[in-house]
């Protein structure tokens, strides 16, 4: 009771400004970044009134479609973009290839996780063209999904490779010029939470995302038993 009153009086006291700055650290970096992209890109799109012809925006039900999708029994590559430059790029700065493996065996180095990528961070120059060679070592589905890309080029701001069981699929996308840290994950329920989270830093990036195995601490950590 006494402690509560104490902390309360402090919070209402001289530390309010400091408190605000610290609390803002808790804001979701990704969500904020995505919003920034959305408003920017939307206004550009509205002013143009002529969306890029390469993008087909089909009518969708509860499935995700529109844009280009290569779907077969072995998986899919969604919203691949090999040659349309983002508006803020004049040319492709470099071509790089990322090789990623996914599966339960890759979670082993990180105790308490179950699903894993073999790498959790990649670096690319602004305006680079990135080819992802995604290998699934499990018998179930896994995804390499990146978020926060400009929505006028990539529906929902994402590029996505899904491999259905053991195998490999390759896809390519081009990043814009801004320095940014993009979220990469597998969006099958609990796969990101249990280890399949990574980041792509373009240019200087914009800090580390939380909860990446081997890279950053979780925002909401487990409570382990005390010795």
């Amino acid at each position: 009771m006494h402690n509560k009153k104490l902390t309360k009086s402090i919070s209402t006291g001289s530390l309010v400004a400091l408190g605000i700055s610290i609390t803002s650290l808790y804001a979701d970096v990704n969500a904020a970044a995505d919003d920034a992209f959305e408003t920017k890109e939307l206004s550009q799109k509205q002013s143009q009134q002529q969306p890029d012809k390469k993008i087909m925006e089909g009518k969708c039900g509860e499935g995700r479609c529109g844009g280009n999708m290569q779907l077969d029994m072995k998986g899919m590559v969604m919203y691949e973009n090999k040659d349309t430059l983002p508006k803020d790029c004049t040319e492709i700065s470099e071509d790089i290839t990322i090789e990623v493996k996914a599966g339960v065996e890759h979670a082993k180095p990180y105790p308490g996780t179950v699903f894993g990528f073999d790498k959790h961070q990649w670096q690319a120059k602004p305006c680079s063209r990135i080819t992802v060679e995604f290998t699934n070592d499990d018998d179930i589905r896994h995804q390499w999904m990146i978020h926060g890309l400009p929505k006028y080029l990539y529906p929902e701001g994402m590029f996505h490779i899904e491999v259905n069981g053991k195998g490999k699929k390759t896809g390519t996308f081009i990043v814009p010029s801004s320095h940014f840290t993009y979220l990469v994950h597998c969006d099958i329920a609990q796969h990101v939470e249990k280890g399949m989270k990574a980041q792509l830093k373009v240019g200087n990036g914009r800090g580390d995302l939380p909860s990446i195995p081997g890279i950053s601490a979780p925002k909401f950590a487990d409570r382990f038993p005390k010795k």
Binding site: I10, G63, D139, I188
Partner: protein
């Protein structure tokens, strides 16, 4: 001396209350309580065209006039198989191309007889190390999100609705989908374990051999027949069921918790008939929009009704942490089922009032409807239907001798039991008492509550078409139901009868200043906030110290 003092003490004690009563006591005033945000009866996100009768991929899909019907494109794919529908139809679903493969008309009667079914295991309302709230969310009632595991038809793409939303995509929900197959078909069910715990499938009551042709186990029981299907692995079960009926499939790994977490659904074997394309999955159970040939001969409609009860203590364990070792321990070493006490009761994955959006039975006069009722919970269900006396035709999938059929108004189902009921809208005072909105509910009264709040639980209704309004809203003529569509009602913050109680006989009592202070202090005792404050303090002290040190240096 003591003898003299005792009466004095007693007298003083007796006097005390009268002293306190000396001030005339008045009851506290009534406080005005306002409703929270009222959700619409039917969300605007629902596509109204889905309710209509339609033909997709030559599959006739029956109307489903409730607020939130099944996606008809899913149904077309579930009838034809994901290998036999167009890409355009697939794009209206979130199914994987290999979710359901139907081939090989072995007996040459016009329907496929080799059926490959793929199931994934998904978690709903689980933990996230990135956000405070649960992730891949699924609400059973306003603001209520217990953790669940469920089987789901294999899907493609994201489990969440979108990057901007943490809601589960509509294929991922409770209950695990009803699965329908045709008698004598060769069925291969492949479990793709996409979850972080080991799982299996046991076909309860379904005709299946103990071993597959290659000698591998086929009963799904770790102690006797099968190795664990670990995360990332797949396992195929094979069966050619010779007997028909309403049966069950469920996980048999750590069955005492995995079944109750939601890994259980109906497995229905339909009579072998020519041109019998059955609807292999029924997402969220409920109305079957493409019934089998045999069911259509006797009934105009068919509904799957799956009842479950939920012990919050078990279901919330997945929301307490992320580490797979801690979770394995909490589920298998710390949770004690013998101390179980359920708080939530769901019908087809929802509690009242959400049951009214999906699980109402809509009927016309003289219609005969088949209800497959399944108790997938741990408690008994005593199902009572207002306005009707249904007739039991099958117990646990076995057909009753017509002479032995039972007609009554309460049917009791123990755990895992099934009863097939015939609901006959013949207005003769026995089968039916005429048109109306007839509630059906568990008569174990806990079952009609949500964490002890009435009305909740698995209450639903049989509604005559003449009593059905736009967007599947029944033409209710009782009290205003808006409070039931608020989170506050189930958080116990809204007084009972408040909207009918003009004189405020039952309103909220005004809190004293002290009570209010206490409440706000409770709210502010959030661990994150305290952590921030501690951090603030440390930083401030550090800043002051550095400042002092620097100024001392510069002074020197």
């Amino acid at each position: 001396m003591r003898h003299h003092r005792l009466p004095f003490y007693i007298f003083t004690l007796l006097l005390l209350p009268s002293i306190s009563l000396a001030e005339f006591p008045t009851a506290p005033a009534t406080e005005e309580t306002f409703l929270g945000l009222v959700e619409p009866f039917c969300p605007e996100t629902v596509d109204p065209t889905w309710r209509k009768q339609q033909l997709i991929e030559d599959v006739s899909i029956a109307p489903s006039p409730v607020c939130n019907p099944d996606n008809p494109y899913n149904i077309a794919a579930f009838v034809k198989g994901t290998n036999n529908v167009s890409m355009a139809t697939m794009m209206q679903t979130q199914l994987s191309p290999d979710t359901l493969i139907k081939t090989n008309d072995i007996d040459g009667d016009g329907d496929p007889d080799e059926i490959h079914i793929r199931l994934e295991v998904i978690e709903l309302n689980g933990f996230s190390p990135d956000i405070k709230e649960p992730i891949t969310t699924y609400d059973i009632a306003p603001g209520i999100q217990p953790g669940f595991w469920a089987f789901a038809p294999k899907s493609r793409g994201m489990s969440n609705e979108s990057f901007a939303s943490t809601k589960a995509n509509p294929l991922l929900r409770l209950p695990s989908p009803s699965i329908r197959v045709e008698q004598d078909d060769k069925i291969i069910v492949t479990l793709e374990n996409s979850h972080y715990f080991p799982h299996s499938i046991h076909f309860h009551g379904v005709d299946h051999p103990f071993q597959k042709e290659n000698g591998e186990g086929n009963d799904g029981v770790p102690q006797t027949s099968n190795k664990l299907t670990l995360p990332g692995k797949v396992f195929s079960y094979e069966l050619t069921p010779r007997q028909t009926g309403t049966m069950v499939y469920h996980c048999h790994v750590q069955a005492h918790t995995h079944i109750l977490m939601g890994l259980i659904g109906m497995f229905i074997v339909e009579e072998n008939k020519p041109n019998n394309w059955v609807q292999t999955f029924n997402i969220g159970a409920g109305a079957v929009r493409h019934s089998s040939v045999a069911v259509k001969q006797d009934y105009s409609q068919e509904y799957d009704l799956q009842y479950q009860d939920i012990d919050r203590e078990l279901h919330n364990l997945i929301q307490q942490g992320n580490d797979s070792r801690l979770l394995a321990k909490s589920y298998n070493r710390e949770y004690n089922i013998t101390e179980r006490a359920p708080e939530y009761f769901i019908l087809n994955g929802r509690s009242f009032p959400y049951t009214l959006r999906e699980s109402m039975v809509v009927i016309k006069p003289d219609e005969k409807i088949k209800l497959r009722v399944f108790n997938a919970g741990e408690q008994q269900v005593a199902l009572h239907t207002h306005g009707f006396k249904p007739t039991a035709t099958h117990f646990d999938g076995v057909k009753l001798n017509p002479e032995a059929r039972i007609q009554r108004d309460v049917f009791t189902l123990g755990p895992a039991q099934r009863i097939d009921l015939e609901l006959y809208a013949k207005n003769d005072g026995l089968n039916n008492m005429g048109p109306g909105i007839w509630t059906f509910h568990d008569h174990n009264e806990a079952g009609v509550t949500t964490d002890g709040i009435y009305p909740g639980g698995h209450i639903s209704s049989v509604v005559f078409e003449s009593f059905l309004g736009p967007n599947g809203m029944p033409k209710l003529q009782g009290i205003d139901v808006s409070p039931f569509f608020t989170k506050e009602f189930y958080q116990k913050k809204y007084p009972i009868w408040n909207l009918s109680d003009e004189n405020r006989h039952y309103g909220e009592i005004t809190k004293t200043a002290e009570q209010k202070v206490e409440e706000t202090e409770q709210d502010s005792s959030d661990m994150t906030q305290i952590a921030i404050l501690v951090l603030q303090l440390t930083l401030l002290v550090a800043t002051i110290l550095i400042f002092r040190k620097n100024s001392a240096k510069s002074n020197a």
